[in-house]
């Protein structure tokens, strides 16, 4: 009997040591991994719209809570939904390129884990928003079915208006360039016609006339004259004039239109 026990001790000891070391290793490994995940920089910065929404939900728990109407909460939820959709789009767009980068070794494994974590978080948040939208639906409107549709449309619209604003700025450049050019041509025309006395004597005059008339109906007459004159004047005054009529003195936003259209084409 005693002999029997003694023969059993080594294998049991062996098992205990093996299992014990494995357990310690796995616990340490997991702890490290969790730590790494926790210390990982989030993919997206903290979302203000989410904080606002959750704060509104939790306000009743605070001392002397203000009364928040449902409409405000719905608005906050819609804004949160737009933020989430925006992020989901970013995630979807960057997944394939990031994967290629990972395969080529240009991006480390930790970036990829970080990305996957962000993807999971966004998925969870989408679910959360959908559930809340369901809770905030009315009988007539099953909001959960179209809140993301609305949110996505709002993003597209925001981008469209932004593009239009940018384009408007460019247009202003064009208008300024053109009015400067016509003004120049006009003053040269006046000079070549021998009205220098007038120009120099009352040097303010032509400028006032031009600036005040450019946007109105009278302005276009002067524009037309300018163009005609330029064509004629370019032969006698050749070197300087033809150069100036091309592009040198005033910077021309010449290649801008093509670029903008291509960008829009690509987005579509």
């Amino acid at each position: 009997m005693g002999l029997n026990l003694a023969t059993f001790i080594p294998p049991i000891l062996y098992l205990v040591v093996i299992v014990g070391s494995m357990a310690t290793f796995s616990s340490i490994y997991r702890k490290r991994k969790a730590q790494a995940a926790a210390s990982m920089e989030p993919w997206f910065p903290p979302s203000l719209s989410r904080d606002v929404y959750l704060t509104l939900l939790h306000l009743p728990d605070t001392p002397n809570p203000p009364k928040i109407p449902d409409s405000v909460i719905r608005t906050a939820l819609l804004r949160r939904a737009t933020d989430v959709i925006q992020k989901a789009i970013t995630i979807r767009q960057s997944k394939a390129p990031l994967q290629t980068l990972l395969q080529r070794g240009s991006v480390g494994d930790d970036t990829w884990t970080q990305f996957l974590q962000a993807e999971q978080e966004i998925d969870a948040e989408i679910k959360e928003v959908a559930e809340d939208a369901m809770a905030l639906s009315t009988q007539n409107a099953q909001w959960a079915q179209f809140i993301f549709q609305t949110a996505a449309e709002m993003i597209t619209n925001d981008r469209l208006r932004q593009k239009l604003e940018e384009q408007k700025l460019k247009s202003q450049e064009w208008s300024e360039w053109w009015s400067k050019k016509t003004e120049k041509v006009r003053s040269e025309f006046l000079a070549s016609e021998g009205v220098e006395d007038l120009v120099q004597g009352t040097s303010v005059n032509p400028a006032i006339v031009l600036t005040s008339t450019v946007p109105t109906k009278a302005g276009h007459v002067s524009d037309e004259d300018g163009v005609l004159v330029e064509a004629e004047a370019s032969s006698p005054l050749t070197p300087k004039e033809s150069k100036s009529s091309k592009s040198t003195p005033v910077s021309t936003p010449s290649s801008t239109p093509a670029g903008s259209v291509r960008r829009k084409k690509g987005r579509k």
């Binding site: 606002v52 409409s71 597209t156 239009l164 829009k264 084409k265």
Partner: protein, 208 residues
């Protein structure tokens, strides 16, 4: 991800608008974020329970108004009162671009492209080449396909401003987009392209 920052918020009972309480460490962007939220909230109050309808449902009133303004713009154009036409188009454009953002953006594109193209025409009639060019450019950007007129007007303005190379580029780009309509509606584009090419040639000869 199960935690959030409790923000110092309060609500103004009368206007139902959210405001941030003054705090020791103010959060950046919170004020502007809340301002946007309040503006959206005021806009959403027109709906039952402040739920905006799906993007497909459009407020017909605004569409009707835009159409009416555009039509009267067209009428003014036909009467040769181009300044008036331009003013009306601008009004229509404002109405169109201030459509609420939850409505379809495709509709805004479509409408704005048409109005911009019309306004370009009015500008061309008044010989405001630069403005006409910009309007036509907007139109092309919003709706590059099936928009021959806008491409034509854009190139025409460039040509009138003596930017021949740009005009040629635009005409080529335009005919690329209008490839499906080749031979049907792009006759003007081709004619203008011939003109422009000829003008470029003449210019080269003159400078040579």
């Amino acid at each position: 991800m199960d935690s959030f920052t409790l923000l110092p918020l309060t609500i103004d009972e009368a206007s139902k608008s959210l405001t941030a309480l003054p705090s020791a460490s103010p959060i950046p962007d919170l004020a502007s974020n809340l301002a946007e939220l309040n503006a959206l909230h005021r806009n959403l109050l027109q709906f039952d329970a402040a739920i905006p309808p799906p993007p497909g449902l459009i407020n017909p009133k605004r569409s009707a108004q835009i159409n009416k303004l555009r039509e009267s713009g067209n009428a003014a154009f036909r009467k040769q009162t181009f300044g008036e036409a331009k003013k009306l188009y601008t009004l229509a454009l404002d109405m169109c671009l201030t459509r609420p953002h939850w409505e379809q953006s495709g509709l805004v594109r479509e409408e704005a492209a048409m109005i911009y193209s019309n306004r370009a025409q009015a500008n061309i009639a008044m010989r405001n080449w630069a403005e006409g060019m910009c309007d036509a450019e907007m139109s092309c950007g919003l709706k590059p396909k099936d928009n021959v007129k806008a491409w034509y007007r854009r190139a025409l303005c460039l040509k009138e401003m003596n930017k021949l190379e740009d005009a040629r580029e635009i005409l080529e780009m335009g005919s690329e987009w209008e490839a499906e309509n080749a031979g049907k509606t792009d006759g003007d584009l081709r004619a203008l392209l011939r003109d422009v090419l000829k003008a470029i040639e003449d210019k080269e000869k003159a400078s040579a």
